[in-house]
């Protein structure tokens, strides 16, 4: 009984870590190249919406792919504004968040039931049975992608170039790297992963779309990136920690005994409080690319 109980928490945490890990891994690539995307929250929200509709039209895989495409498209807009047009990254990111929050609510109203849309059963992803319990195949993806990203960033020439444009774009430019193009590429890849995370939430994990489905996960992913110090392997660890606390609220809601002592509202605060504390604790020992957040202008 006790073991099954712990296993339930563990599996729940694994499912909750997927969106945070995926988004944070993508953002590690983006931030390595020097772009700070606070529009991740909006990307998750938008692609949860488009992914759900895509899944209903063509099955779960199509839904996930449409989520990726949505993320890539928004990443392309954000990336272009922040590279070729030298836009202010924080403002562009907030613009994406406002836009997504408005459009998704609008879209949900358009679909009929305001505020909530359940994904049809045939559109939902099927969990695979393992000795541990029913797990989503996306958990495997969430474990593999950070490893691949680590290899990309630290073991390949392209990764070196990405880190170079984040660290010293002037030098990279002189060395013949197209700074804007590489930054745009990294952001698009990063944003597609956030898109995948969004589609996972609606198609696989929750099985429905609400206007608050992203629930700050984009920002928790940003905090995870801070925690990891741009190391994709640490993103896995950070993702699990935040996933655990994210799952805590769901888990407590099944236990009336705990709820009598601590109101659910306070349990729901846990992931955000933990994020604040973790970020406050680790900062100072992590170092970010020197040119992060600064638009590159040729002299």
């Amino acid at each position: 009984m006790n073991l099954a109980f712990l296993r339930g928490i563990f599996i729940g945490s694994l499912h909750a870590m997927v969106p945070i890990t995926l988004t944070a891994t993508g953002e590690v690539i983006g931030e390595s190249s020097g772009l700070f995307n606070i529009g991740l929250e909006g990307i998750i929200l938008m692609s949860a919406m488009t992914g759900a509709l895509g899944a209903e039209a063509g099955g779960p895989i199509a839904g996930l792919l449409i989520g990726v495409a949505t993320g890539a498209a928004i990443g392309l807009v954000f990336g272009s504004i922040c590279t070729y047009f030298k836009g202010v990254q924080l403002i562009a990111g907030v613009g994406i968040n406002l836009f997504a929050a408005g459009l998704v609510t609008f879209w949900l109203i358009d679909l009929g039931v305001p505020g909530h849309h359940a994904v049809a059963d045939e559109g939902q992803m099927v969990d695979i049975s393992t000795p541990l319990g029913d797990l989503s195949p996306m958990i495997i993806v969430a474990f593999v992608l950070p490893v691949l990203t680590y290899i990309l960033l630290f073991r390949t020439k392209l990764g070196l170039k990405i880190r170079a444009v984040g660290e010293n774009p002037q030098a990279a430019d002189v060395a013949g790297i197209n700074v804007h193009r590489l930054r745009l590429l990294s952001t698009v890849v990063g944003a597609s992963l956030a898109g995948l995370a969004g589609a996972y939430i609606s198609v696989d994990w929750m099985g429905s779309v609400t206007k608050e489905i992203s629930a700050g996960r984009g920002f928790i992913a940003l905090a995870t990136v801070v925690f990891s110090g741009l190391n994709p392997m640490l993103v896995l660890l950070g993702g699990f920690i935040f996933g655990f606390f994210d799952n805590l609220a769901v888990w407590v809601s099944t236990m009336p005994a705990v709820q009598r002592v601590i109101p659910w509202q306070f349990v729901s605060m846990a992931p955000y409080i933990v994020t604040l504390l973790v970020v406050a604790g680790v900062i100072g020992r992590v170092r970010f690319p020197a040119a992060m957040g600064i638009p590159y202008e040729r002299e």
Partner: protein
Amino acid sequence: MGFAAGALIMMVYGYDPISAYRALFSGAFGDLYGFSESLANATPLILTALTFAIGFRGGMFNIGAEGQLYLGALAAVTLSLLHLPPAMVFALSLICAVLAGAIWSLPVAILKATRGVHEVISTIMLNWISQFLAFYLIANILVDPMRAEKTISIAEGVRFPVLVPGTSLSYGIFISLFAAIIVYLFLWRTVIGFDIRAMGHNAMAATYAGIEKWKIIVFVFITGGFTAGLAGAVHVMGRPPTYAVYSGMPSITGLGFEGLAVAMIGRNHPIGIIISGIFFGGLLAGGRIMQLFAQVPLEMVRVVEGIVVLFLAIPELIRLFSFLRKMGPIVIFRSKRSSDEDRRRL
């Protein structure tokens, strides 16, 4: 440009954009009723925009107005539990709301000044925490014993009187305008205001000039908290018919983030914010009319806002706009000095 994109989206979803926009603008600015509603909506937006603008002038990205506003609103509601003379409760409500906003922004300032935590992350986390705190307070402490879906109403004599009968416009608008002027004087006519702007302008030079960064951070977030908390109080104390906060907070969610858009479009200048606040208030008021007559959901307004902010990130575009604006009548409201400064900042 945002409007064009908005029109495109409406067409995609099968609405008629022309009749929608006609309803929007006639609803917002067409008659006294519409204009009063626009001003009523502008009241909290101007205050939350000031929160963002103070931060932006100091080189910080304070998006915590949302959560600080929740607490300001609930602090004002809480004070109505007291059985004191109404005038006293009125003053105490405003003071406590302002303090609640400031207290809620204090962790952001402390974490930034001592640990270097980026304010984007800390303010967003505090926004979520305050949302759940507010849910708890609404459902358990401040709940109306007669109607479980809302909090108790602000006591009779503690409300802002209605300015134009039959509308939502209250005397609270004067608080917003007054606050905008105070913020202007604070930023442009005091030493600490100068230091804040210097820090935002060139942090390195300001530090060499002997300005202490932690002091600026604390001032920026505390004053930002003041106006955001005030926004919550003014909104709940001046908003007929119920003068209360409902569970789920439908009437106050988003006011903080919309304030950000207002500040950006008002070029982070208090006078510009008043103008853009009224404009955005108009979009919201007209949005309701649009919803009624053209059946376009009110959320369309938020979509347009998002697109506008997205494009405002582009410095070249802003330069183009300020060039166009020089031709227009708005130039009267904007001193040349501030527009030059804006250009150098970006």
